[in-house]
Symmetry: D2
Subunit: 135 residues, 4 copies
Amino acid sequence: MYQSTTQIRVRYAETDQMNVVYYGNYAQYFEIGRVESIRALGFTYKQMEDEGVIMPVVELHTRFLRPATYDELLTIQTQVRALPTSYHIEFFQDVFNEENKILAAGRVVLYFLQKQNWKRVNIPPDLQSALAKYF
Amino acid sequence: MYQSTTQIRVRYAETDQMNVVYYGNYAQYFEIGRVESIRALGFTYKQMEDEGVIMPVVELHTRFLRPATYDELLTIQTQVRALPTSYHIEFFQDVFNEENKILAAGRVVLYFLQKQNWKRVNIPPDLQSALAKYF
Amino acid sequence: MYQSTTQIRVRYAETDQMNVVYYGNYAQYFEIGRVESIRALGFTYKQMEDEGVIMPVVELHTRFLRPATYDELLTIQTQVRALPTSYHIEFFQDVFNEENKILAAGRVVLYFLQKQNWKRVNIPPDLQSALAKYF
Amino acid sequence: MYQSTTQIRVRYAETDQMNVVYYGNYAQYFEIGRVESIRALGFTYKQMEDEGVIMPVVELHTRFLRPATYDELLTIQTQVRALPTSYHIEFFQDVFNEENKILAAGRVVLYFLQKQNWKRVNIPPDLQSALAKYF
């Protein structure tokens, strides 16, 4: 299994009048978790796009367990539990607060597509090799 | 079953550099669908909050089937398939483009909570009565 | 002078824990006002981009006079007070609530650029002709 | 003069189909700059709100000089050039890219208000004292 963590601080803009983080903003938190997990492998998602591969999200599942509040320092834990071998990848992503309580649990599926024509492609070999070390 | 539809136009701000709507923005589209479905029943979510009941999202599930693009007029279809009888409600929400092709399919679960203390409460009786006519 | 108005309803996502619309979201409201003002002329900004001209914002000035709140139906008034004759255009944009009180007053300057290379171009002749009828 | 800097990394969600950061998102960057400038003084804006003082923005002025792009590490420089002595405060905020080129220059005016009734109050004395050391 491959796992990485990163931290973000809740922005004022991300709260709503329920005094907690708006549920739609967790998708951004998960995105940051994935981006940093790829960076921790020695790649960047930016570079992948520059080389012609995009990764749109095709499934998002989230359970919201506790609210996040303004200015909290959140920890986003991102896991890849199965080595991708074709055109899709699945991330398990949990968000924790400063007391290490889980706030949200997510599962996100993305496709690897050619940027030019949005056709499916296999996971880039160098990304797969980097991930393979953890499996 | 209770069903309503509403329309929104994709904002430039909602696109990303993949030239499509960012996946995180569908949560806002679904929110609008739910808010308008409640308004179509003769209530407003605003009024419910003013009367002390909030409805945080506890589960969000989305499948992204086709991308939405800038300036498209989207139709959000919102369904309540089971009459809520306690502290939670489930919405099925689909997004269609102008050619009536489905772009995203969502399922969202929300709780009814007292605004004061975030304790669970049953669905407000007048909202339940209004919904009951469809079941 | 050319003027148009359009309406938007405040989304829950757009509020913050001050119980009002987050100041950063007015930029989106202004964008919608501009887009609809161009549509009212018989064009679309989307079409302009498809034809190779983009309009990035180079200046934004906003005074926030009264807060906007959740679920309010806002009116965005958009004015072009001088016929553009070169590579820039200036919009004056005001936001009003349902009681016709002004909430925010904006001034936004945009450039016309070639999409390919971000070089300045003059306002597209057909857009200028459509605007010229009001001057 | 009081000055602080902080860094943020551009999120995918913050780009638009022009392949740059959407102009409306700079308001969030400026907010982060202000929040961190207050934290660097030994306070937090969160604490101020908890103690009953809110700081809504009343003026926002931004010049967009160069586009910011996805995944760039931006530096936000925040300056207070005059010691606040009454109910308002003015921030000068510039955003720089990794090559130290300026991308945007902002000026933001905020009020100090009582959270309860939105009446103007003077800057909290302890915040003023902390700032005074720089003037």
